[in-house]
Symmetry: C2
Subunit: 478 residues, 2 copies
């Protein structure tokens, strides 16, 4: 958390705004400097920073629902919770849209080193993994620094073994280390099976040193044998390395009872603040409702649910609604393959031309330090100028290379502009996809700063008169 | 970790010592200021700070043995490891003494909230707990701030319920918060059963926010019903509190299969550096060899094993041994009731009059910031003066109220002086008794500072000509 002093900041804003409200005709300079959009945008910030609504929503979701794996019973309880919560907040519209999602059950996941030194290990099955045979798998391990090293390996060295991908995840404010290491999780099983491995284990994709493994989705490929896949906690991966220094021949025992359960029905849950003059045009702010099953889904993505819902609620309660509709989309089944978002894009294909811009909050509750856009390069500078009031909330105006977050990542290719409200993710991968993803990891002050930023962004975009399209082609983005 | 710069410090000492060695007859002042004991004591510091032996020993123990619960098979593997390690280090004597220890197996420990909101919980059975019936226990909970509040409760409110002791452990360099909260763990089951509770669960005795429960020993009392006892992780305890705000009626399901397995044989493992002129007099430096079963026993107490063994090894390798014998005692079964230490006191009852002083390292690997003693008040100031060279290693000379560490805690009542080399325990209870007690939690630099301090202490005490006895009565300690 930064030493950014919200109290002082809130005070500054209050002074500014109450000044404007009490003395509306004070000077021409004041009126020119602060447009009515700016005034409302700054008022939203004040309200956000003095409200606990965002945090209250995450608390409610994590305490009253908790883990909500896509396709599970709890997933449907989360949908009910969301419908009820959004209705209770008084949005103009609340509805849900069904999505077919893959269902999977974790079962147990046990592992130990059998030789040279017997040691229990802490692991987590990767999402989508098949089970081992009931008696488990016992095999020697072969270690690789990276997925690429495994892909380049001589199959003769891998055949019949358990491939161990030992890629460490680098800590970074942007979370970029995740992108560098996560391939081992998503594609490790295919790479290992192609070389004849009987299973794959990976060093957890995480930046912590807790003895907790990080789960997350993995994929199989048609025609390639499906082998079991699990993550080891960082201390366990360290231990294996120290054991390899003593003896190259390590035998591991692995036993998973995870199961793919076919297809289940889930729902994207949607709330709207109806636009006053352009109700058919949509500013979409999203988050995902599903979570992994080992924590309570607080930072991933209860935080996002709280942030975008509370931001929209502030706009819902304004005396004068903005021109465009604000649509909150709580996506289904992000964790298991951004399934709800793909479904949304299909179900709303005819309407995407009316999606003015989209953004998703799915990176915990760290403070937002920058906003990036992906809009027509010709209006990019004007878009930034429109958002200049965000800087007083600690948000720098960034570049025109936004991707928009996982659930809106397909939007630019469909012509829809996006924004990325970039959060401080320094600690995010300490807790991500582990039992440690719990409410106490969220700082209410930082969460409120996020609510403020999303409220400003959504309001400003819902009022903007710029034409954000067409987007630049990938090669000529700013 | 402190910002204390060991490199600079080591350089300072090297300059001092090499100066003295190269110019032994330099000035009378130098000779008076730096006794030969001081010179050797400071040389030990230098060697300790430039050696990785202490850390190597912890690595070896945690990687090659790992968890070693008293009375388990792994406990005997640890004893073999210790005998082999101490022998390989070339101590003058290495031997073991058998100890009868209680054996207990953890089994599984499952818990969940059934209503008002279904949630899985992360728990750990407390050491020594009986199992639940095979079908588990389902009952409503009743929450208490502290053990004392439970003890003061109306039995009618507790009868048939699961008592929940929700005492938070305060973080402090000395670890004193542990002493304030741990009664709920050790005595909670008795207090709860006396009021008619069917089980007891406690907020983990720990300072972290990890979703890991802290195990640790609990006790039953003859004539009071033995009820199952478990610890909840801090985030789970928080969640229950948030649920209680919503609904006072929380039903918990608890299922433990832990089992008391009677008595097993273990061993105190002992190594000695034989004294040159008073070999029958003993300076005892101890640690405990056993550990809880969920981590690898790195900070508790692999660190202590590494510290005292490496310290003694430095003295073993001196060209001239000190007057008294240095005895390293790696105690059995500390975790389950300081059983090895009690056995040692009995087995060595005839020899305790020759125990000059005793100290134990059992508080992780944080830097030592102070040394306290419990010696005859008349010589206390002289004892401090003798230890003045420890200050250059960051160790303040403290008070005469030492307790000496768990395994030597009975020594003062048996007339044996003790010292407490007090470590920075700020983070100790983040990891204590959890799966997170692994090698990565140890800072090698801080560990080496501990080795240096123990080597100085042991050497100085083995050379001292002071009479440390008799100890003050409790009422007139300095």
């Amino acid at each position: 958390m930064k030493n950014y002093n919200k109290q002082i900041f809130a005070g500054m804003l209050l002074a500014t705004i109450s000044g404007c409200q009490n003395q509306p005709n004070d000077t021409q300079v004041t009126q020119t400097e602060l447009s009515s959009n700016d005034i409302i945008s700054q008022k939203l910030v004040n309200q956000a920073l003095s409200s606990t609504l965002g945090y209250d929503i995450v608390e409610s979701l994590t305490v009253e629902v908790g883990p909500r794996l896509a396709g599970s019973e709890k997933d449907l309880i989360a949908v009910e919770w969301a419908m009820s919560k959004l209705n209770s907040l008084g949005f103009d519209k609340v509805y849900k849209e069904s999505v077919q999602v893959p269902a999977w059950s974790r079962g147990h996941a046990k592992a130990s080193i059998i030789s040279p030194f017997e040691q229990p290990l802490v692991i987590s099955a990767l999402g989508g993994s098949v089970a081992t045979p009931e008696s488990g798998i016992q095999a020697t391990i072969i270690r690789f620094d990276t997925l690429a090293a495994l892909q380049a390996a001589d199959p003769a060295l891998v055949k019949g073994k358990i491939a161990f991908i030992d890629h460490k995840t680098e800590r970074h404010i942007s979370g970029k280390g995740y992108g560098q290491s996560v391939g081992g999780r998503s594609r490790g099983a295919v790479a290992a099976a192609e070389k004849g491995a009987v299973a794959v284990v990976i060093r957890s994709i995480g930046t912590d040193h807790d003895r907790m493994a990080h789960t997350g989705m993995m994929r199989y490929k048609d025609g390639i044998k499906k082998i079991p896949a699990a993550a080891l906690s960082a201390p366990d991966a360290d231990m294996i390395n120290l054991m390899l220094k003593r003896d190259k021949d390590i035998t591991l025992s692995l036993n998973l009872s995870s199961k793919n359960l076919g297809v289940a029905t889930s729902y994207n849950v949607i709330a709207e603040v109806t636009g006053s003059s352009k109700p058919d045009e949509v500013v979409l702010i999203g988050a995902h409702l599903d979570s992994w099953d080992e924590g309570t889904g607080a930072i991933d993505d209860g935080a996002g649910v709280g942030i975008v819902t509370a931001a929209a609620k502030l706009i819902q309660d304004l005396p004068q609604k903005p021109a465009r509709t604000i649509r909150v989309v709580l996506y289904a089944a992000e964790e298991v393959g951004i399934v709800g978002a793909k479904s949304y894009a299909k179900q709303h294909a005819d309407e995407l031309g009316l999606h003015y811009i989209a953004a998703e909050s799915d990176f915990g509750a760290g403070e937002i330090y920058q906003i990036d856009f992906n809009v027509n390069p010709n209006v990019f500078e004007q878009v930034k100028t429109e958002h200049s009031s965000m800087t007083i909330n600690g948000v720098t105006l960034g570049n025109n290379k936004a991707t928009g977050g996982p659930d809106v990542s397909m939007m630019p290719s469909l012509g829809v502009p996006v924004a990325s409200l970039r959060q401080d993710g320094t600690d995010y991968f300490d807790y991500h996809h582990t039992p440690n993803d719990t409410l106490d990891k969220i700082d209410p002050t930082a969460l409120a700063q996020n609510v403020a930023a999303y409220a400003q962004f959504a309001y400003i975009m819902a009022q903007s008169e710029l034409n954000l399209r067409p987007l630049a082609k990938k090669t000529d983005k700013q």
